[in-house]
Amino acid sequence: MALNITGRKLFVKALKEEGVDTIFAYPGGMITDIVDELYKTEGIRVVLGRHEQALVHEAEGYARATGKTAVVLVTSGPGATNTITGIADAYYDSIPMVIFTGQVPLHLIGNDAFQEVDIVGMTRSITKYGVTIRERDDMGKIIKMGFQIAGTGKPGPVLIDIPKDIQTAAGDPEYPSHVDIRGYHPNETVHIGQLKKAYKLFKSAKKPLILAGGGVRIAKAEKKLLEFATKMQVPVTTTIMGKGVMPVDSPLYIGNCGMHGRYAANKAITECDVLFSIGTRFNDRITGELDRFAPKAQIIHVDIASASISRNVVVDVPVTADALIALERLADYAEPMNTDKWLGQIANWESEHPLAMPCSKNGVCPQNICENINDLFPNANIVTDVGQHQMWATQFIDIHKGQQMITSGGLGTMGFGFPAAIGAAIGDGKKPVVLITGDGGFQMNMQEMATAMSLKLPIIICIFNNSNLGMVRQMQQLFYGKRYEITDLKAEDGSYYPDFIKWAAGYDVKAVRVTDNSDIKAALEMAKSNTEGPTVIEFMVSPDDLVLPMVKSGTALSEMILK
């Protein structure tokens, strides 16, 4: 038998065997041993963030850009609690991630010791799996389980809590190559009968429509989706998380649907007779009022998680399967359908109400910014924060093959964008990273500029500054009699803080303010040429620009506010 090794040594061994080349870490008292072990380790890049919440978002961006399971290491207590928002975000967007938290020594657990919290208990409802290691000899098995669970099936965050004395205790040196988990059987097949039934129904449609969500990307099934849709000549609409799974240059792609979806896409959902949904959980932002969602359609639902099926929308043909496996099979069956009339109808809707912003005169036009980004960065990873700018990005940014949009869809976490952009730049340095963010959300994690500048990451940071929390302001404007309570970020005397240009100077970061549409292109070109580090472009946008169309929360997709 091989000699026993310490927990800290096994920790590093586990990461190596999992092929982890990057971890996102912030030190603290209960992980000093592991941190010390990392000092002695070659081949694992340790990214030091400036706040643990941001650290998790960085890991999310990394996971999204690389498709790998991201690893986070933080200390106990506040280090652990700070990760919670990030973990919830990863959970709702199905991001594969293993979060290691330090914990007080076993004998102190439950004593309200210094920096002790029950982080496993606190995150129980937002992790796929969470556990405290209580026996040193279980450590290898538990870490292996963590990676298996995080990265397979419907991916998600796994939290592993490691008491300090486990890190230093000697024990089993083995890291298993596989662990049998009797309560976990991710779906790796598809019921052929069910799939044939789905295909038959779909084939019988006069007005077929495909609704594709983020699950298609997770399954790496974009190519198969395009193939299937093209072969059958069926239009495709996407969710926010599904944005980009259908390339924008396909004539069958009709844009996003949902609360701020395209008019034609929401009309198509309302009028279609068979809706083929894949990799979406029918979030309320997608469906609007449930009773009037796709009222004329029979619904097929392909999802890897059977718990997602018939949860929000009752479906006619459920298929529990990985999107890639299902689409590979379906591509075999696919035969062209005559959808000319239906496609013509959708094109008519699009020309009735094309997506276009009536931009106000007193600011830079968000649509115009997005179009310039499209022209200059056709291969970039586009990252957004949460708010109006995010919805404009989902409406106006073109995502081509090989590109993706990284956004916080499920939780809608302000502060997500900047750290996620950092993670994406770390994970995929070959593609430019363009961050589209708002002045509100950006301020929630702007301390990460130190991380970005230290690593000289050439992120193009586009701050849409309307000096307001625009998404809520828009609701106040439309539904609350223009009573703009706590959405105006300006001081009473009209001054605005911070001055982002001066602020950037404190980090030696290049920054430029754009107040006129004619300067958008030059600013983006300047940013593109700066490969030495991040560039800030502050676009002065009017607070009166709205995200339209809009389906008011709780109403039907067919009841869009168009102007």
Partner: protein, 172 residues
Amino acid sequence: MNKMKNRWIALYVENQVGVLAKVSGLFSAKSYNLQSLTVGKTERDDVSRMTISVMADDVTFEQIKKQLNAMIEVIKVIDLTTLPVHMKELLYAKVCNVDAAGKEEVFQIAQVFNQGGNVTVADIGADSVLLQCTLTSRRNNELVDLLKSRFKKIEVVRGGAVAIESISTSCR
């Protein structure tokens, strides 16, 4: 048919720290209407079995089963609602401040409910009687209702039902 009714699930789970919290947490987090939950070790030290009763409509109940199935710590979910099962719940009922005639009435009630020794007098004092019952939850409800209607002061403690599939259905 989508009406609310009482349903039963048996759950095999890992016998580990936090599993009970995770299962019960699901019910509170998703606003499922949990009626009773019992848990104990099975013939295997590392496996516990829960017997859970929920009030739910068909759609919600399907979702509950799927959500439970999705949990890593849940090994198996069995819907007991439509299976022939043996199901009992332990109940103690203390009837206090009763005179001799009252005691006599408690004995009579016990006799009526008793089948093969599943309602017994576990303890007795000068002015009180303690009944020990191993009945179905429904029968226990009826007993409690009756005692409440007849006596001013009673104390009841219940263990929640445990259930197992009948021999005709399975022998693992």
